[in-house]
């Protein structure tokens, strides 16, 4: 036993324990996510014959070249996705934070009201999409309400100008309550005495929020932003059901593009090339966010 891990110092056993604790999750992620992603990288360098899917040819970067030069939709879908993600993450994070603040205040039945806000995430996305699609119909309930207050009916999902924003609203209705939960957990973790100190230093509620609460919420906030980015980057069900990527490709999210490519049209190589690009873009964004949201504490 003596000095077996001497090079690591007193805390050496942590290495072994850490290893053991990580192994299950590591294997799960390795086999369920990372290896399939690796296969996608390999496949993206090949082209499978349509008529004989078993036959595959090494084509180098041809698939990528196709995506960037020939594909009529890929670049557009990347752009649409980036816009969607940026807006949705911003909207959802801000709203979720506001709700988290509201629902950590003292009030009657607060936990019950909070649960109601959380409820939408539990409804199958496909059904939520139907409900909102119905509500946003030209003659739907939202337009009826708008007309009541004197605003003309809007086309919402039927217009290439409004469709993306409509999907943002739907995605936010679904997600906001969910992200709120993490922020509530984070808010609860901020020590009271630090807030006390700020109050004595003369900080009002707003000041305390921006100078104390927000910086100390950085870790959970970083989680929400990163997780939300990834989740929305990969989100496509509402758009697939409601708009099929339209009108005029305005809601053609890149995951929908991949789904169509791989499942509907059976062009696996091209889909894999897209997956690789999505992964690269996503990791770049996440790395950037990590950098920006690193907490000092």
């Amino acid at each position: 036993m003596r000095d077996r891990f001497a090079i690591f110092g007193a805390k050496s056993q942590e290495w072994l324990v850490g290893l053991l604790l990580i192994v299950p999750a590591f294997l799960a992620l390795l086999f369920l996510r990372v290896i399939p992603a690796g296969i996608a990288v390999w496949e993206s360098l090949h082209q499978r014959s349509f008529f004989n899917p078993d036959e595959k040819m090494f084509v180098g970067l041809d698939n990528f070249v196709f995506l960037f030069t020939t594909s009529p939709t890929f670049l557009k879908s990347m752009l649409v996705t980036l816009v969607f993600v940026t807006v949705t993450v911003a909207v959802q994070t801000v709203v979720a934070l506001m709700l988290a603040l509201l629902f950590t205040q003292r009030g009657w039945g607060m936990s019950f009201w909070r649960t109601l806000v959380f409820l939408p995430i539990t409804i199958p996305v496909a059904v939520s999409a139907v409900v909102w699609g119905t509500a946003m119909r030209g003659d739907g309930i939202i337009n009826a309400a708008l007309e009541r207050i004197g605003i003309p009916a809007q086309p919402f999902l039927a217009s290439s100008d409004q469709a993306l924003w409509s999907v943002v609203i739907i995605a936010s209705w679904i997600g906001v309550g969910y992200w709120m939960v993490f922020l509530i957990a984070g808010l609860r973790d901020i020590p009271d005495d630090v807030k006390d100190a700020a109050a004595l230093d003369g900080a009002g509620p707003l000041r305390t929020f921006f100078s104390i609460t927000l910086p100390l919420l950085k870790r959970p906030l970083a989680f929400v932003v990163v997780a939300n980015t990834v989740a929305n980057f990969l989100q496509f069900v509402p758009a697939a059901i409601l708009t099929q990527g339209g009108p005029e490709n305005s809601t053609r999210f890149v995951m929908y593009e991949i789904y169509t490519q791989a499942y509907v049209q059976g062009d696996v190589s091209l889909a894999d090339a897209q997956i690789v690009l999505v992964l690269i873009v996503l990791l770049a964004i996440v790395a950037l966010q990590f950098r920006l949201l690193r907490s000092k504490e």
């Binding site: 992620l29 009030g107 607060m110």
Partner: protein, 280 residues
């Protein structure tokens, strides 16, 4: 805090109710729609009247009809699969989250980066090759096979890491000196102090699995293994017509379980105590 006027409490309560209502409106509409005949659902949008929300004819036939389609069984399947995923996934995530946040060892950050890559991989995109492998090892039509998709959840690990980092390290040190093994430190110190985040992580796993749709389609070919969301989507007829009232009834049934769970777990979201045993 001293000196908080009482009317603020009233104000916050009202705000809370308003927000909750706003989020509930679509759900309420679903609820009432599931209690009215299919034809009536879309009849009263414009202009807005009370009938848009309140059914003219109340009927339970949608719900009764729904239960006749074996929906109950699917719900039960969903529950079993989700419990498996949540339990196993949570155990794995807690262990890994603890390791990458509390323990210090070489390669820790590399491992964490690996987890980040892991959760950036779009699952829908790798589901097909994965389902082929699951089929090869003979896990199709098993609850475990269904649960597998949710197990490799890097999000839960990342989430727990973020919160574990917020627990003062000296607590772990005190426990170590008290003779606790690292597992014991995890069990006796970190778990009780991170109840809220652990519930949040559990919810992540729960919701992922509860909403799972594509994966069950790929690996659960036996109708006896059908899960709720798939059963719900099956209410669409050949020519694309949907029995909306039945679908809404089903959706509501599907959300009862997680909503109830959330309501029950509320009380563990108590104010954090993680720093209250110390100075500085």
């Amino acid at each position: 805090m001293g000196a908080i006027p009482r009317f603020a409490t009233v104000l916050f309560t009202i705000a809370g109710i308003c927000v909750a209502l706003l989020f509930m409106l679509p759900v309420i509409w679903m609820l009432t729609s599931s209690l009215r005949p299919n034809a009536e659902i879309f009849a009263h949008f414009s202009p807005l009247t009370w009938q848009s929300i309140v059914p003219e004819t109340w009927t339970l036939s949608n719900i009764v009809g729904l239960l006749g389609t074996g929906f109950g069984r699917s719900l039960l399947n969903s529950l079993i699969v989700t419990v498996i995923t949540t339990t196993l996934g949570l155990v794995m995530a807690i262990m890994a989250g603890f390791a990458v946040s509390v323990l210090t060892f070489p390669g820790r950050n590399v491992l964490f980066a690996f987890f980040v890559v892991g959760f950036s991989v779009p699952f829908d995109a790798v589901a097909v090759p994965l389902s082929a492998q699951v089929r090869e090892v003979g896990l199709t039509n098993s609850f475990f096979g269904l649960a597998l998709a949710g197990l490799g959840n890097g999000f839960a690990i990342y989430l727990l890491r973020q919160f574990f980092l917020g627990i003062p390290r000296s607590l772990a040190e005190a426990a170590r000196l008290d003779g606790a093994s690292w597992l014991r430190v995890l069990w006796s110190v970190y778990l009780p102090l991170a109840k809220g985040p652990i519930i949040a992580a559990g919810l992540t796993l729960f919701v992922f699995q509860w909403q799972a749709y594509l994966w069950p389609l790929l690996v659960a070919t036996d109708p006896k293994m059908q899960v709720g969301p798939v059963a719900l989507a099956g209410l669409v007829s050949l020519s694309g017509v949907i029995d909306f009232s039945q679908m809404f009834a089903g959706a509501l049934f599907l959300s009862i379980v997680p909503a109830g769970l959330m309501l029950w777990l509320q009380r563990y979201f108590v104010s954090s105590v993680s720093r209250s045993g110390m100075t500085g």
